[in-house]
Symmetry: D2
Subunit: 146 residues, 4 copies
């Protein structure tokens, strides 16, 4: 499990005073970039090497709202590794509160967007850290039943 | 079923040349604003009346990518109406191709963010148009099992 | 002078209930895409032909605020054409009110970002429509004095 | 002069592989939030106290492009303090390179958007740090001539 700190920016908050819901997918993206860096994969270099990890499916459940200038922690986990895709799960916390949970299923594609196998070194790195998700039992069932 | 046309803007496309995935949630939002207008609910007026429809859960599956300047059609359907929430489902098409499908579950809240019952007039309008979703059988099962 | 209609989206409005100021630069971009289309230059095709019109300088003055769901008109004019760059000026109106004015100076670059001459056909099209700006005398002076 | 570090996010980069130009105005906003915090003004608290600093005018000159995952430094300076407004100037650097410069003129407004005097404590804090801008002589002339 990896943690990334994010300070909510003014432009991320909507007219209700809370972080606009699509922005959480951006937070997930920022968090996985740092997670990948921590695993020894700089995503900019992965792309330069000819692989993009495109989003196949994404989802989020919103429990409590985040406000401007809040300091959030995004927890990121890898919960499945396949031959061509990987599942990442996220929880956004503010102190002890969980504000949102979510997931992204990422598929390896080449730079023209064609699906391909996950390169061996990436697969090895994800396999070394894959874990089950303690936060989001329901979403796990959804995915395993899909 | 309601259709909204959206032209992909330059700022919505990422470095891979395709619409950045969180942007689809914004397209869903644009589409439901027009859907609501068509149903006789101007969302600006709904908010002025003290009700916000907050996102409780959202998800999307990405099948084909959209490119800069593409003309997209977002189909919107209401597939469930409850006492305090409503489920909307979306399909994003370009001509005959389906690029993505998704959903948002919306919950009525007051302007301080507290959950409340769906006002009767909104509930009546959604009830008059609720339908089953022909596009996204799997997601429907997911939701009905939740 | 060209006019583009834009409906303010929910995600474009900040916590003060008004359109967030950087968004006007996006409105200018949407407006010039339509202006270019009207002049017979589809910007997607211009890029496919190896030319990008990069922003060299941009500015905006904010007079009145725009709100969610407002229908805006963005007026676009070409006010200078040079060998390698072009100046566009914008006014954002809501009915009779001018909400903001602004400009972007665009420079031709190749797809690796290197500055180049404006292709002859683009230069001809801009030259055919270049005009002085009646709205923004001060900014014109600023630019001519630069 | 104050420095804020910003890591370029994937969603901030356009299809040309460079940071999309309106995003610099957001970087300026992130930078001034941290600058204000450093001066003892938490902007969230300033708003809670009934004052918003709205953008009256903004501009940027783009010299070199920033890329995904770059680490940028935004320098922020206060270069003018008036009775109702304040001028901030910015320079975005990557190592020794200056990528862009810009400014925002901010005007005090109440929470309904009506212009008002800058509260005395804010004015005192800005006055204590006001300086001339060494980076952007031309823009200074523009402003002083306005």
């Amino acid at each position: 499990m990896h943690e990334t700190r994010i300070r909510v920016r003014f432009d991320e908050v909507d007219t209700m005073g809370v972080v606009h819901h699509p922005r959480y997918l951006v937070y997930f993206e920022v968090a996985r970039t740092e997670y990948f860096r921590d695993l020894g994969m700089v995503y900019r270099d992965v792309m330069a090497g000819g692989t993009h990890l495109a989003i196949i499916e994404a989802g989020a459940r919103y429990v409590r709202s985040a406000k401007y200038d809040d300091e959030l922690v995004v927890e990121t986990r890898c919960t499945e590794v396949g031959g061509a895709s990987v599942m990442l799960r996220y929880a956004v916390r503010r102190g002890d509160e969980t504000l949102a949970t979510g997931f992204t299923r990422l598929g390896a594609v080449d730079l023209s967007g064609r699906a391909k196998r996950l390169p061996g070194d990436l697969r090895a790195k994800f396999s070394a850290v894959v874990e089950t998700d303690p936060h989001d039992g329901r979403a796990s069932r959804v995915q395993s039943g899909a």
